[in-house]
């Protein structure tokens, strides 16, 4: 118990706000949110950060068409929301590592969707404005084998 103080006095508004912000940032940190702004009464803040790299997963099985010539990896949705394409995305195009492929709008927060490896955009599994769930495959990338 240290110096015998047991707890913080939560009647102090600024202390309460700091605690709330800390808890809120903890929630944001564990998510893939890249930009957020928050206001409460006279207090407010804005945060932006580099987007986290998305986990690539084995691509979903195809129906035999568009056979890939390298390693196939899926880019999946990081959250629940509605998906929107980046204007730069084209099927068959070569994309760079960390290129923005689109974003998922969840509760008015845009969660960026990027590929963390370079490759060819082999398949698109989603339509503009489609509702997506966590982990849902959005794209399949064909990543060249390294010999």
């Amino acid at each position: 118990m240290g110096s015998t103080n047991l707890s913080m006095d939560k009647a102090d508004n600024s202390k309460k706000f700091i605690e709330e912000v800390t808890a809120f940032l903890g929630v944001i940190q564990s998510s893939d949110v890249t930009e957020v702004a928050w206001e409460k009464g006279e207090f407010g803040f804005a945060v932006s950060r580099q987007p986290s790299r998305k986990t690539v997963q084995p691509a979903p099985p195809t129906n035999g068409k568009n056979q890939a010539q390298g390693l196939r990896l899926a880019v999946v949705s990081p959250v629940v929301g509605t998906f929107h394409f980046s204007s730069e995305v084209q099927l068959g195009a070569f994309v760079k590592a960390n290129q923005l492929l689109g974003y998922v709008n969840a509760v008015n927060v845009k969660h960026q969707v990027e590929c963390d490896k370079p490759g060819k955009l082999f398949e698109v599994h989603v339509e503009e404005g489609q509702t997506v769930e966590f982990g849902q495959p959005l794209f399949t990338l064909e990543v060249p084998h390294v010999s």
Binding site: T4, V80, G135
Partner: protein, 449 residues
């Protein structure tokens, strides 16, 4: 009238709520983690949305994903079940700000009852007896002084707590000084709030709780009591309604206490007001739970009410359709919680359920999500299901429960079925001589294993 409800939970309570919605003609949206993809609640719901990976913090406690799932699915209400976000003020507030009806009490009621110390103060103001104790403690010296005034033994309790977490007994000054840091650390880990208070520790009390139901018109009804004295480490394992020692006059007294507390916070929806009864027959308020409880089926079986449907009706803004005088307690009901745990060490068990048979017959009800072939994972609580037995009297209910549990098969993992089977044959249980330390004392005497 709700068109669509999202159930922000999993397991047996998600199945329970989905069933109630289907009976009411309301569409359902299930949410699930990647570990729960193949579970029953996902298959039963009209729609389902994956909200995150297995860990609860990234899925069932992931507010943004749950809210987003409700918005994209077009749900107009969210049922939180129990545990997880069921008593989260933040969640209730966020639902309201997105025009989603939170099926539960108001944010203010959750706040008033969720803080255990303020709930005690409320009870005191309403002249409902509380266990002698303190408000939030500010120092060790204050704790020691208060304990001297209350008289040892005392119980250290977490202000933000419930479910038995953050509780430590102290029988002396030395034990109090030693246990305060442990209790604070446990409270902080469980609830993110290390504030504590003291209560007098009652010796061998009985846990009696009252089910309440309130609407937004100021009506609050009491739906009888439940006895939940059979606990291990403050976790209930067997509950029953009514309590063998509650006479009609005692029932009226504790129901009046419960309704008074509920009305004191303008309570709407279902909730439970918990009491401890000491050996002298004195009832003391201990805490209120602003949600549906695991053991709600025993109340349903003796009253004939569907508490989830009533909860949804109230959530839709409807007035209670019956009065206190129309509440009747008929017969006796017992519930056994079947957990995936080692019956001797009580360590949680995981694995694939390779054989499953739930019992049936007159007066037997099973609330479970479990299906044969399911994988029990380490990410969530160990409750597999609840077996409930009703009879015209307690003896019949006990007999039906013994037969039911003897028939029950859960293969591939260990469960506490053997513990229940021995408990139901112990004279103390059969005679109704219960108290909250009974299970622990029988275990320590090696009577139940």
């Amino acid at each position: 009238m709700f068109r669509k409800i999202l159930i922000a939970n999993r397991g047996e309570i998600a199945v329970r709520v989905i069933r109630a919605c289907k009976q009411m003609g309301i569409s359902t949206v299930a949410v699930y983690s990647e570990a729960d993809r193949n579970l029953l609640h996902v298959r039963l719901a009209d729609e389902s949305i994956c909200i995150g990976p297995a860990p609860a913090g990234k899925s069932y406690l992931n507010l943004p994903n749950i809210i987003s799932a409700a918005l994209v699915s077009g749900a107009d209400a969210i049922h939180p079940g129990y545990g997880f976000l069921a008593e989260s003020m933040q969640f209730a507030e966020i639902c309201a700000s997105h025009k989603l009806q939170f099926i539960g009490p108001s944010v203010e009621a959750i706040a008033a009852l969720g803080d255990k110390a303020s709930a005690r103060n409320l009870a005191r103001r309403l002249h409902v007896p509380v266990i002698p104790g303190t408000s939030v403690l500010r120092s060790v010296s204050e704790a020691l002084k208060s304990a001297e005034e209350i008289g040892y033994p005392v119980m250290i309790k977490a202000v933000g707590g419930g479910g038995g977490k953050g509780m430590r007994p102290a029988f002396s000054v030395a034990e109090l000084e030693k246990n305060i840091p442990f209790a604070q650390a446990e409270a902080d880990a469980a609830f993110g709030d290390d504030r504590i208070y003291l209560e007098k520790l009652l010796v061998q009390p009985r846990h009696i709780e009252v089910q309440i139901l309130g609407d937004s018109f100021g009506n609050v009804l009491a739906l009888g009591e439940r006895e939940c004295s059979l606990q291990r480490h403050h976790q209930k394992i067997l509950e029953e309604a009514p309590s063998v020692l509650v006479t009609p006059s005692i029932r009226k007294k504790i129901q009046d206490f419960a309704v008074k507390i509920a009305k004191g916070v303008n309570y709407t929806g279902v909730g439970t007001i918990e009491f401890l009864r000491d050996r002298d027959g004195q009832f003391y308020f201990i805490e209120a739970n602003a949600r549906i409880q695991v053991e709600h089926p025993v109340t349903e079986m003796v009253t004939g009410l569907d508490l989830i449907c009533e909860q949804i009706q109230v959530g839709q803004g409807k007035k209670l359709s019956f009065s206190q005088g129309e509440v009747e307690i008929r017969g006796h009901a017992i519930e056994c919680r079947i957990n995936a745990e080692d019956p001797e060490t009580f360590a949680p068990c995981i694995g694939v359920v390779d054989a499953l048979h739930w019992p049936g017959g007159p007066g037997i009800r099973v609330d479970s999500y479990l299906c044969q072939g399911d994988k029990v994972t380490p990410f969530y609580d160990s409750l597999l299901g609840k077996v409930i037995a009703w009879g015209s009297d307690r003896k019949t209910a006990l007999t039906r429960m013994r037969v039911a549990l003897d028939e029950c098969v859960v293969g591939g993992i260990k469960t506490n079925l053997p513990l229940h089977r021995r408990l139901l044959r112990h004279p103390a249980v059969n005679e109704g001589n219960l108290h909250v330390a009974l299970v622990e004392s029988l275990l320590s005497e090696k009577v139940l294993i």
